[in-house]
Symmetry: C2
């Protein structure tokens, strides 16, 4: 970069930082809420005369890498290593439930252990019990790693807080931030490690611009374990506190490529747009109808009640459905040009949606059905008997030495096919239940009956 | 076959024979015309004092295997082996031209040598000069083989005349008779050899019912030459008078299979229909329109002036055009379901036609255009520069690690594609000239502007 460009680049960075760095007020508020919660927990512990339990703030709030506007706290209740799993779960929940007294709302959730999610003064708080193991190689459940991650980042991130914030916001803006099964992108911890590894926000981008799938990164000098190599993930970043773990295992090929692509574009012409995806016409019905008509392809949406499960349960099932329905559509000659899945938030009556764009949603009445070569007499005979006088046979002839029958298609339009056979597709447990209850099909501009902005954004991106 | 079936079968054969065997009158007439022609030729020879030239009736008329209603005579003028090619052609034509005095019409034609085709009292006569070689291995031009074929068949066909007639008529009825490049079926000589080989009409069918492509037949016991084996023709029948020649080399895979298929069907339930293809609804416009609409596919015909050349020149070029236009249509995503070619007879103003049935003749405005993987930075960059801001680009995104651009199709309907690009297809010399003069495109029921019964039969067969 020449000097002028560099100066512009630095100005842009400062501008972004000023928007995403928590304000002093936010920082004070966060510390206040944290202190209040931790004090409350220690009081409960004292009151119940529990021994050797400590409480710890972890996550981006603890590492000073959180973004303005996000109010998430991860508070870990750390039990002695020799606690039994049952005891940990029972006492952990007991403590957490006591804390709910100072919460505005709360909800019990379940990951590897049960934990509690609270709303306290606009903060979303996860209270998570874990084992305080002496060494990261001795962890007993996956959450036990978190305090080690916390320690590692805290001791290596000095001076790079804003770089992490920039990278997180950049990834958010281009839609690759988040390692949940919905997004399949980059986790906060991965973002922090990337900044530590490359030394700065811009160095991450410079290097990412030249990444290739299969790239392997590590902070130490140890050999990379064969297990990790064999996993063949698009991106491998060895967890500095666990050499058998790939921090980037959630990152899909397309999210990786989207990041590579955006890094190049940003370095070529840096702008604020990358950080804050600009609002477009995606909510405008007329705009969307116009785009759809100009494409003149076929559109069909399957819409049904969202199973009452979290995103990490629902999205993998939606993606599976997308694949198996695509397979069925193509088996019946409806070529899928694009598809995506989307779901409203968990909640009764909320909907899930799988969307397909088809080259054509209407096919001719007949299709060619190829039989065996004429000279395989037994097979040929059977095929001929079956088809040559069938009422659905339109024509029977020989082509390239094989019998061919022009038969009537069972389904000349995609909607009737889905009505008839959607339930035969391979579906996940919860979606299967929901589909068996009921589902609707929306065709072409009926798709715009769905008014949710997140859906319309996805639709607009595909048009 | 049980006795009852056998009796019925024999009755059917007798019935067919009575229809296809030349009547006594036809036989006498044929002999009369033959005698008259041969005498005339000998008179010319005598008059011109030509030495060592003999005249010979060859072909089915000479072998007593011709069919009632066909009036074709092949008369060969046999020159001494040491005649020069120039002399043979000059004297041959001279003699033939003299014979035209007793013809109603005549025409000079050209195969390996020039020859003359006459119309004499309703007989079509080919007067062909050839070399009278002492041995079939010494032939100087391909027509020199014919007298040897004639000799061979005459000495082996005794008692099988009607069987040959039945087989010829059967092949005619099912559409596989004729070794011209238009039909790619069985020649008369091949039919005769098959009957000699298998011993009877029904034995040919019994055996053909079990044929597989690659079958090799020969009348002698000699090794089959490597050249013939390497040709890998669907059917190989070694010429008994030339071990290097495959009498069945013209037979296409599909004609072979159609024969196998019909043989089985006929043996299963013998009927007259096999010999005389029944007339159907093929000329009825309403019937054809109804079939076309019920298929609901797209139909398009290219129609243009037939080049002023014989079928053996025109048809290979039509088939080539069918293939190369199919290729182009499919390159532009118009999937061809069926195609056929047809031409009116040679003659000024007569038309040739190539017909296509398409899964759909209309495609959406957009199509996916796949680019390189994102990580191949230089290629990716070029692709992105080219497409991401192009006015014909509808959308630019990443799928399976590759850039994809939804681009506007150049051609959303097959007709405009053909109008625009037919001339860029690989076409034979004569058709290329004709297409460059002019061509028309007929879509869907416009196809029925073509009223020729032979075309409509082909159309009807494909519906």
């Amino acid at each position: 970069m020449d000097n002028a460009k560099l100066q512009k680049f630095n100005t842009l960075k400062q501008e972004i930082i000023s928007e995403i760095k928590p304000t002093e007020y936010e920082q004070i508020k966060l510390e206040e809420v944290t202190r209040k919660l931790i004090n409350h927990i220690y009081n409960v512990i004292k009151k119940r005369d529990l021994k050797d339990i400590s409480v710890q703030l972890v996550g981006s709030a603890a590492r000073n890498t959180w973004l303005s506007g996000t109010h998430d706290l991860d508070i870990f209740i750390v039990f002695p290593e020799n606690t039994s799993r049952e005891e940990l779960e029972a006492i952990g929940l007991e403590i957490a439930r006591d804390v709910t007294k100072i919460a505005d709302k709360y909800e019990e959730r379940f990951a590897e252990h049960p934990y509690i999610n609270l709303q306290v003064e606009n903060f979303g708080v996860d209270l998570v019990p874990c084992f305080g193991v002496s060494d990261s190689s001795k962890i007993k459940s996956s959450v036990d790693r978190t305090p080690f991650h916390n320690e590692y980042v805290k001791s290596n991130i000095a001076g790079l807080f804003d770089d992490v914030r920039l990278l997180k916001q950049f990834m958010r803006g281009i839609g690759v931030y988040g390692s949940e099964l919905k997004t399949k992108g980059f986790s906060g911890y991965l973002t922090e490690l990337l900044v530590i590894y490359y030394g700065s926000f811009e160095n991450v981008l410079y290097n990412a611009a030249n990444w290739k799938p299969g790239i392997k990164l590590r902070l130490g000098n140890e050999e990379i374990s064969t297990i990790l190599i064999q996993e063949k993930k698009p991106l491998l970043f060895v967890d500095p506190i666990d050499p058998e773990r790939n921090v980037a295992s959630a990152v899909s090929l397309d999210k990786l490529c989207e990041f590579i692509d955006a890094a190049r574009d940003f370095l070529e012409s840096p702008s604020k747009q990358f950080f804050f995806s600009k609002k477009g016409n995606e909510h405008n019905k007329e705009y969307l109808i116009d785009r759809m008509e100009r494409r003149s392809t076929g559109f069909i949406v399957i819409i049904f009640d969202r199973p009452d499960e979290v995103d990490d349960v629902v999205y993998p099932q939606l993606y599976k459905m997308e694949r198996s329905v695509t397979e069925m559509l193509e088996m019946f000659d409806f070529k899928v040009m694009k598809s995506f899945s989307w779901s409203e938030d968990v909640g009764l009556g909320n909907k899930s949606v799988v969307f397909f764009e088809l080259i054509t949603s209407r096919l001719p009445n007949v299709k060619k059905h190829f039989g065996p070569p004429v000279w395989l007499r037994d097979h040929a005979q059977k095929f001929k008997e079956k088809y040559s006088d069938d009422k659905n046979s339109f024509n029977f002839y020989i082509e390239d030495g094989k019998y061919v029958c022009d038969v009537l298609r069972q389904h000349v339009n995609a909607k009737s096919l889905l009505e008839d056979r959607l339930k035969t597709c391979s579906l996940g447990k919860h979606i299967n239940e929901s589909i068996n209850q009921n589902f609707d099909l929306l065709e072409n501009d009926e798709v715009l009956k769905i008014k949710n902005p997140e859906f319309r954004l996805l639709l607009s991106k595909s048009l």
